[in-house]
């Protein structure tokens, strides 16, 4: 089954840009990964996911999200610079590492 990366953000505008970049990156590498974005209060309805990545502006919510989704799903905050530079490759690599692929 295809793995799923879930990005979590506040407004959703800039994260949607990053999702596009990551999808391009995954497609060019021939990876079958579902990449999706949602707001913090919609995480539960977007589960299951194999990794949850928070936008840097949501970093303060990391602990709360960890409690919410339980220990089996890795939760991380995206590196500020990678996020700002919309570096799809680096963020995808970080996600792959956390998912163990």
């Amino acid at each position: 089954m295809a793995k799923k990366i879930l990005l979590v953000c506040a407004g959703g505008f800039s994260t949607s840009m990053l999702v596009e970049k990551m999808k391009e990156e995954a497609a060019s590498k021939g990876l079958e990964i579902i990449i999706d974005a949602c707001a913090e209060n919609a995480i539960e309805s977007n589960l299951p996911a194999d990794v949850i990545m928070l936008g840097p502006q949501m970093g303060h919510a990391e602990d709360g999200v960890k409690v919410k989704v339980g220990p089996q799903v890795p939760v991380t905050t995206i590196d500020m610079m990678d996020y700002g530079m919309m570096d799809g490759e680096k963020v995808l690599d970080a996600a792959k590492k956390l998912m163990g692929i």
């Binding site: 407004g11 505008f13 800039s14 840009m17 502006q57 303060h60 919510a61 709360g64 700002g84 530079m85």
Partner: protein, 434 residues
């Protein structure tokens, strides 16, 4: 160490504000009203474009009276919509049935609203004045109060439990009876109590002791200067300041904006100097939080590869008011070298905009509220015509002038680093002293 500690404390505090269920459901609920509110805004615009030939055409074809209907069932009834969407959001945050909570809240709101027999002696009229902007605070209070009460009643399991085998829908409809009865009784009691006072009803009580004073306070000069400053400072330490400020100010800012919009629609003088979030988006945070539009333009002239790349990436979204790439990619947040322009530019923007509006050089903004992502200049033009759009151009130039010298220094350093790194030929691993 102490500084770090202080930052963590503020971060925690902001996190608390941002994840506060009540504040969160107000802004979520308001976002949900967007779909009907925007219809009202579009038709208000269509109805009031100030071209004589166009207005004559509307009058002669009878279109005028038709175009004014959508605003009067959206903007003018906004409190009725908001009470439902806000309580829906709050109940959802407690994992409860949002629709039931929304309906009970709507009922409660109407139970508190004056009504009476119409002149025809047959139909009952509801005081629509309180369903519009003047009833907005009551809508917010009732939505939060009733929804929380609903959650409490359901949690305490005082609803009627059905034996196994009864279809879940039956249980659901019966479940809503108990909370409904309890809440309706409370509302009727409230209505009764207020009928005996000079205010006559809850609406005029809340309006005069809470809504008017708070909106005057929140719409004042110093409130805008303070919220602008706080927003910038929070961004400086890496917190989404714009969002924090909005989640606290949302009820007041929305009221300011709606009161201007209602007046605009009725062709009256606009009551507020600065209609909240619309004022902020049009002037203060032009090009995104921190008014970084000038920085985005400056990056187009970058000598370093790093900022050239970021500039290309960031410029288009910046014109749409989206600047997270700059905030985090430059980065502007947590960057002491950009703290001065980050604070100065929005502050200059808000001071100039308030001043020029007060003396009448700039028109008051209508409060149309174009959706996030509307290009700058266009959003200004929609709010107040060409003068606003021209002033936005000036704000962009100011932002450029202030950000540029700070940017230039950082850019030259980045360029030198890149050159050195290339010369050293071991590009990736070279660590240069800062």
């Amino acid at each position: 160490m102490d500084k770090q500690n202080f930052r963590m404390k503020i971060q925690k505090f902001s996190g608390k504000i941002q994840s506060n269920k009540f504040l969160g459901s107000i802004s979520n609920g308001l976002m949900l009203t967007m779909s009907v509110l925007i219809i009202g805004s579009i038709f208000t615009l269509l109805d009031s474009i100030n071209i004589t030939a166009y207005q004559e055409f509307l009058q002669s074809t009878g279109l005028k009276s038709i175009l004014s209907i959508p605003p009067s069932v959206t903007v003018s009834l906004i409190s009725l919509y908001a009470v439902a969407t806000i309580s829906y959001s709050l109940a959802g945050k407690y994992n409860k049935d949002g629709l039931t909570a929304a309906l009970i809240s709507m009922m409660s709101f109407l139970l508190l609203t004056p009504m009476g027999l119409m002149e025809d002696g047959m139909s009952t009229g509801i005081g629509t004045r309180w369903l519009g902007a003047p009833g907005f605070f009551v809508a917010v209070i009732i939505a939060l109060l009733v929804s929380r009460l609903y959650v409490l009643i359901v949690d305490k399991e005082i609803y009627i439990k059905m034996p196994k085998g009864v279809p879940p829908t039956v249980e659901k409809s019966f479940a809503s009876i108990v909370p409904g009865i309890i809440i309706a009784t409370i509302m009727l009691a409230l209505r009764g109590i207020f009928q005996t006072t000079d205010y006559g009803n809850v609406h005029s009580f809340i309006y005069s002791i809470l809504q008017v004073p708070l909106t005057n306070l929140g719409g004042s000069w110093w409130a805008f200067l303070a919220t602008t400053l706080i927003g910038s400072l929070l961004w400086g330490i890496g917190i989404h300041g714009t969002m924090i400020v909005y989640s606290v100010m949302a009820p007041i800012w929305t009221t300011l904006r709606l009161e201007n919009l209602s007046a605009y629609q009725a062709g009256l003088e606009l009551p507020h100097l600065a209609p909240g979030g619309v004022f902020q988006a049009t002037y203060i945070t032009i090009g995104g939080s921190g008014a970084t539009i000038g920085l985005a333009i400056a990056m187009l002239y970058a000598t370093s590869k790093r900022y050239k790349t970021l500039g290309k990436l960031a410029i288009l979204p910046s014109f749409l008011g989206i600047n997270e790439p700059i905030m985090f990619g430059f980065p502007v947040v947590l960057n002491p070298r950009l703290l001065i322009p980050l604070i100065a530019v929005p502050f200059i923007n808000v001071s100039l905009a308030l001043g020029l509006t007060a003396v009448g050089i700039l028109p008051r903004l209508a409060g149309i509220g174009s959706p996030l992502g509307t290009p700058m200049f266009i959003n200004g033009f929609i709010e107040g015509g060409w003068r606003v759009a021209v002033f936005q151009v000036i704000l962009v130039l100011i932002s450029f002038a202030i950000y540029y010298p700070f940017f230039k220094k950082i850019d030259v350093e980045a360029y030198n680093e890149e050159i050195n790194a290339e010369n050293a030929k071991e590009s990736e691993n070279v660590i240069l002293e800062n």
